[in-house]
C-alpha cells in the first residue's frame, strides 16, 4: 500500500503492508484500510485506486504482492 498527497498525512505514513484474505477485491482492501486509518474514511468516495501503474475499479481481484496506491483526485497542470 502506498499513500500519496494528503492521504499520506491522513494515514500518517507513505506506505504500509496489509494482509487480506486470498481473492479479496480492491473494495475489500479499501474497507480494511479505512478501518486501520480512520482519517481516510472521509475521502472514501473520492479515493482513486491503482494497482501497479494502472487504475483499477472496486471489483478488481487482488493477488499476493500487488502494490496498491490510494490517492485523492489528481491536480496536474
Amino acid at each position: 500500500m502506498k499513500f500519496w498527497s494528503y492521504f499520506r498525512d491522513h494515514a500518517g505514513c507513505p506506505e504500509t503492508e496489509i494482509e487480506i484474505e486470498n481473492g479479496a477485491t480492491l473494495a475489500k482492501l479499501h474497507e480494511a484500510v479505512c478501518e486501520q486509518f480512520p482519517k481516510l474514511d472521509g475521502s472514501k468516495n473520492s479515493t482513486l485506486k491503482a494497482v501497479g501503474l494502472e487504475y483499477e475499479d472496486d471489483e478488481f481481484i487482488l493477488s499476493d504482492g500487488d502494490e496498491v496506491s490510494f490517492f485523492p483526485p489528481v491536480q496536474g497542470g
Partner: protein, 130 residues
C-alpha cells in the same frame, strides 16, 4: 507519432524546447500551451506550488493518453514537460506542444491531452501560502 515526456524539477526552458523542434514538411500547425502558477489558490495568496508526482505511474498514464491521442488525431508529435517540486508564482509548471498537419486537429488534440491529464495523471499540488 513521436512523443517526448519530461517530468523534472528543472525550470521549463521554452526557448530550448522550441529550438529542438523538428517537424516534417507536411506539418502546418504547432500549438503550445504553458500552464503558469498564479498568485492565488482560491482566496489565498501563495508564493509557489509544490507539485508531487507518482512519477512512474504518471509516465504510464501519459503514455496511455498519448496512445489515445494518436488514435484520434493525425498528430506528428507531442512533447510534454511537467515541472514538479516547488514552482514559484509566474513560472510555468506545464508545457505541452502538439504538431499536426492542420490547425483544428492540433488545437483539439492539445486540449484533449490537458483535459485528460487533469483527470488521470497522478500529480498533486500543495500551495505554499504567501
Amino acid at each position: 507519432m513521436k512523443t517526448e515526456l519530461t517530468i523534472s524539477t528543472e525550470p521549463i526552458d521554452e526557448a530550448a524546447l522550441a529550438k529542438r523542434r523538428a517537424m516534417d514538411d507536411g506539418m502546418g500547425a504547432v500549438v503550445c500551451f504553458l500552464g503558469v502558477v498564479r498568485e492565488s489558490e482560491g482566496d489565498d495568496a501563495i508564493i509557489a506550488i509544490d507539485y508531487e508526482a507518482h512519477e512512474e505511474m504518471a509516465r504510464r498514464q501519459f503514455e496511455l493518453l498519448f496512445d489515445e491521442l494518436s488514435q484520434s488525431w493525425p498528430v506528428e508529435s507531442v512533447r510534454l514537460v511537467h515541472r514538479i517540486g516547488i514552482v514559484p508564482v509566474n513560472e510555468p509548471s506545464l508545457w505541452v506542444e502538439v504538431v499536426a498537419p492542420h490547425r483544428a486537429e492540433a488545437f483539439d488534440a492539445c486540449q484533449f491531452l490537458i483535459d485528460e491529464m487533469k483527470q488521470k495523471v497522478p500529480i498533486w499540488k500543495k500551495p505554499l501560502p504567501a
